[in-house]
């Protein structure tokens, strides 16, 4: 078991929150507003309407829906990229759209996204160890500590230490995704946001990454928000599933319940399309 000590000085109120949800999304409404010069008609487009959910510690929640349904917009909103029209997002008890940017910057490292395209997520001019070390910058570790932590992380994501001084283009897709995960873990996150983490990988590699993510979750007490169109992946990783269609939640509940007893016919359609063999039927 690898131990990762926290050097991050969080305010006390954040630390005793363990009983409360890591992430709580309340009545979130998202949309794009295209403004034009001098009040000429501006166009509005609603994407997500009134969504609420919470992620408890050590829980993985999957947001499932077709592409274009606004799953990624929710992730952007949680990462404070896209301002919601209505609603609140609490991360570690902080209302992230209400607190000042300087305060958000303090908790931002505990919120790590992993996107589908590992090729563009890594700076092509940085070697692997530089990229991972970069993630630990805010921990203010000594050089030796950082080096040790780097080795721990590499071991954890099952990357050979020899790859350390390679550049991203020298790695395979699976290796790159492992580096991205290691970099995300380097910051000691509380919540991982996984946005289609496997869609660029082939099956065998994908299974390896699933395995990795699953063991990470157990070892590090991680909470995850999984964003995917693939129920099969959700089935593998998520404790609960939320199905989105046309901007609203049409189905949600524990994974098993959704898969075995979907309440909405669209959910059934998704299950069918994913080729999941229902054990009960």
């Amino acid at each position: 078991m690898v131990s990762i000590k926290s050097n991050l000085n969080l305010e006390p109120e954040m630390n005793h929150l363990s009983a409360n949800p890591i992430l709580q999304v309340e009545n979130l409404t998202l949309g794009y507003r295209r403004s034009a010069w001098f009040g000429t008609s501006s166009r509005q487009q609603l994407i997500i309407r009134d969504i609420s959910f919470a992620i408890q510690p050590n829980e993985t929640v999957a947001l499932v829906g077709q592409s274009g349904v606004g799953k990624t917009s929710i992730a952007n909103s949680i990462l404070r990229f896209l301002k919601p029209w209505h609603g609140n997002i609490y991360f570690l008890g902080q209302n992230i759209w209400q607190i000042p940017a300087s305060r958000f910057r303090l908790i931002r490292p505990r919120l790590q996204p992993i996107f589908q395209d590992s090729a563009t997520a890594l700076n092509p001019m940085m070697t692997i160890d530089q990229a991972i070390m970069d993630g630990m910058k805010h921990l203010k570790l000594s050089h030796a500590e950082a080096q040790q932590r780097l080795n721990e992380l590499l071991q954890m994501v099952e990357l050979e230490p020899a790859l350390c001084n390679h550049y991203p283009r020298q790695l395979s897709g699976g290796q790159r995704q492992r580096v991205v995960i290691a970099r995300a873990l380097a910051t000691e996150p509380s919540l991982l946001i996984l946005d289609e983490p496997l869609s660029a990988l082939d099956l065998v590699t994908a299974v390896q990454i699933i395995d990795l993510l699953r063991s990470m979750r157990q070892r590090l007490n991680l909470s995850c928000l999984l964003i995917t169109h693939d129920l099969m992946l959700a089935q593998q990783l998520a404790d609960r599933i939320i199905v989105l269609k046309d901007g609203v939640v049409i189905d949600s509940g524990p994974t098993q319940q959704i898969l075995t007893n979907p309440s909405h016919h669209f959910t059934r359609q998704l299950i069918h399309a994913a080729g999941i063999l229902n054990r009960k039927t």
Binding site: Q66, S67, G68, E160, S172, G173, G174, Q175, S199, A200, L201, D202, L203, V204, T205, V207, Q208, I210, D211, R214, H229, D230, L231, M232, Q235, Q236, L259, Q269, L270, H272, A273, A274, G275, I276, L277, R279
Partner: protein, 326 residues
């Protein structure tokens, strides 16, 4: 009446560098009967896309392609595509063989409307006037399941959704009424439902348009039902090639076995067995079996020796020292 439309014999692709050359594909042998669907599966980087480009002679000059690609169309004389001149093969590209690449959107010219591109392609392939080509193009859009052909005609590629772009690209591939359609990972950019729809469309076209399909994919959910033959590529070598049903039920090669069992466990919603082999991405050894470092049943013999070729009685071709017994 199924005759081999395409027969590939000992295809080999090498990357020629001034100092060295590297073999990217070797010993590729398969045949594709008329109206069949052949699925090629394997890891990314295994040479699947390369194979499609090699079939159409689309590789840049520093790739050396050897072997035979024999195309036989009904009563015509068989032709070896690999030994045609650029001008001669253009005729085949135009009228006999359509191709659909992996990223449908980047395969479309961004500054021309979808209709213009299809019209041009149709006019060139079928040698008809632009006015006629226009009509044909509208029909083609309808054929690939686009609901408003006239609207699509004027649309530019960037305005399309992933699924629509895929269909437009398919229409382009069908511009010359090809007998053979080569498809490269058609579903990787689509979500589950769109995948399903696209596969249905392909099935449909095969029947209505008399199409033979060669498809590179790793969408196991769908190929199981529609593919007649499966070719498993690993590190440039077709480790197993045979009847789809048989392969699906009882894979001989450890790699095929690994793929299918992994998929099946996933499908059942079971967690992947912790005993699943410890997979490593490290480079394959130089002369031995490239799968050896990851093989669950590897033996010492595998490392120094190139996998032995076996032709099983049911026509399955296999490259393995120790195939899993039936």
């Amino acid at each position: 009446m199924s005759f081999p439309l395409l027969q590939v014999i000992n295809l080999k692709v090498e990357l020629i560098r001034p100092e060295s050359s590297k073999s990217l594909l070797q010993e590729v042998n398969f045949e594709l009967r008329s109206q069949e669907l052949l699925a090629v599966i394997g890891e990314s980087g295994g040479g699947k896309s390369l194979l499609i480009k090699a079939l159409l002679k689309l590789l840049p000059p520093h790739f050396k392609v050897s072997g035979q690609i024999i195309y036989t169309d009904g009563n015509e004389q068989p032709v070896d595509l690999n030994h045609l001149s650029e001008k001669e093969i253009n005729v085949y590209r135009r009228r006999k063989i359509g191709v659909l690449f992996q990223e449908p959107l980047s395969g479309l010219n961004p500054v021309l409307s979808c209709g213009t591109q299809l019209r041009d392609a149709v006019a060139f392939a079928r040698e008809v006037s632009f006015a006629e080509a226009h009509e044909i193009a509208l029909n083609l859009f309808a054929t690939v399941g686009l609901l408003e052909p006239a609207a699509i005609y004027c649309t530019y590629p960037h305005q399309l959704s992933g699924g629509m772009a895929q269909r437009v690209a398919l229409a382009l591939a069908l511009a010359g009424q090809p007998r053979l359609l080569l498809i490269d990972e058609p579903t990787s950019a689509l979500d589950c439902i769109a995948r399903r729809e696209f596969m249905d469309l392909i099935q449909n076209l095969r029947q209505t348009q008399d199409l033979t399909v060669f498809m590179v994919t790793h969408d196991f959910a769908n190929i199981a039902q529609i593919a007649a033959k499966i070719l498993v590529l690993y590190a440039g070598l077709p480790v197993e090639y045979g009847d789809a049903d048989r392969l699906w039920r009882q894979p001989h090669h450890p790699y095929t076995h690994l793929l299918f069992t992994t998929y099946q466990t996933l499908q059942k919603g079971e967690t992947v067995a912790p005993s699943s082999p410890k997979l490593s991405d490290s480079a394959s050894s130089s002369n031995g079996c490239s799968f050896a470092p990851r093989c669950p049943v590897v033996q010492d013999h595998c490392y120094p020796n190139f996998p032995s070729y076996q032709l099983l009685p049911d026509g399955t071709r296999l490259y393995c020292h120790f195939p899993l017994s039936p």
